[in-house]
Amino acid sequence: MADFNITDSIDITDVNCPITFVKAKIALEELDDGDILSIKLNDGEPVQNVPKSIKEEGHKVLSLSDNGDGTFELIVQKVGD
């Protein structure tokens, strides 16, 4: 996995959709253009929906990696302010 200069990280493994995306969206809104957010999320519905919704908002998904324990790490770059 490439190294990213991560600005902030959040864990959304304790909530269900759509609160997962809502929490990711709130975290992204607090960042500046170009900042990078690391998101820890669960396999299943979150992994299927959250990256897609973030892309629809216009942000860039840089990577998605399997942590091997039923969770994933999603790296997103904020686009726009």
Binding site: F21, V22, K23, K25, I26, E29, E30, E57
Partner: protein
């Protein structure tokens, strides 16, 4: 201000929207909206504003809840009959959403008090049932440079328009002055179908929310009319020339607020 987990969940369907987001929801929580009239229109407006998390809601009405109000004024319940409408409305809004601070004005809006009441608000809702109040609200909002939503309902018909200073005609541009007393029946005399307040009031709440968020096109420069029996909405373009208006025009002749005489049968909250 950071959201609590409860707020994230409560407002999740707003925050998900591209046009709202966390920033928009914070705008709503910081906004102040005044609802004049806690009746057929004011009830749904106040309830949708409270549910949306408008942080400060003012509600003005001099009346008490009457049994005949309950067919349409859904913010009040049977147990509230006899209670000041503003008190009943406050209790409902606070029960709906603890984020909302409700300020009550248990008084008639007059030329003496209106400017002082509206000065702290970002947006005003005219949910009144009589022409003197409608002209007073219009003139005061023009003078104080406040945006507001006008609406009126009677029988199976409703109408609304939005005024934003400098962005189109005011209510007086369109309706020069109140009709003669008793020329137009009030809803007490004429009746009104209960859900009409819901249709038109919800549209007023939508205009207030859009104004606060700064999204979309407002109903400025248009009058939207609704005929429930024909199930017909019409969006009528209003003349854009406001220069000659007696209150918002270039050389206004109305420079002081007027308390028009109210028809004797008026005074029951629509």
């Amino acid at each position: 201000m950071a959201f609590t987990n409860e707020q994230i969940e409560r407002y999740s369907r707003h925050i998900i929207l591209k046009e709202v987001g966390a920033k928009g929801q914070k705008k709503l929580l910081n906004a102040k909206v005044l609802v004049i009239g806690a009746g057929g229109l004011g009830a749904p407006v106040a309830m949708y504003l409270a549910a949306a998390g408008i942080g400060t809601i003012g509600i003005a009405d001099a009346d008490e809840v009457d049994l005949s109000n309950l067919q349409r004024q859904i913010i009040h319940q049977t147990k509230d009959v006899g209670k000041p409408k503003v008190q009943s409305a406050k209790e409902t809004m606070e029960a709906m959403n603890p984020d909302v601070k409700v300020i009550t004005y248990h008084e008639f809006i007059t030329s003496e008090n209106i400017l002082d009441i509206i000065k702290d608000y970002d947006f005003i809702i005219d949910g009144t049932d009589n022409f003197p109040a409608k002209f007073l609200i219009n003139d005061a909002c023009v003078m104080a440079k406040k945006p507001f939503s006008h609406a009126g309902i009677i029988r199976f018909q409703g109408q609304l328009m939005t005024y934003v200073p400098g962005q189109g005609p005011c209510y007086r541009c369109v309706f020069k002055e109140p009709p003669p007393k008793d020329a137009v029946p009030t809803c007490k005399q004429a009746g009104v179908i209960g859900a009409m307040g819901g249709v038109i009031g919800s549209l007023q709440a939508m205009e207030a929310v859009k104004y606060i968020l700064g999204v979309g096109d407002l109903l400025t420069g248009y009058l939207l009319t609704y005929d429930a029996l024909k199930m017909q909405f019409r969006k009528v373009k209003l003349p854009s020339d406001t220069h000659s208006c007696a209150v918002c025009g270039d050389n206004p002749t109305i420079t002081e607020l007027i308390d028009y005489e109210q028809a004797e049968c008026d005074g029951v909250g629509l």
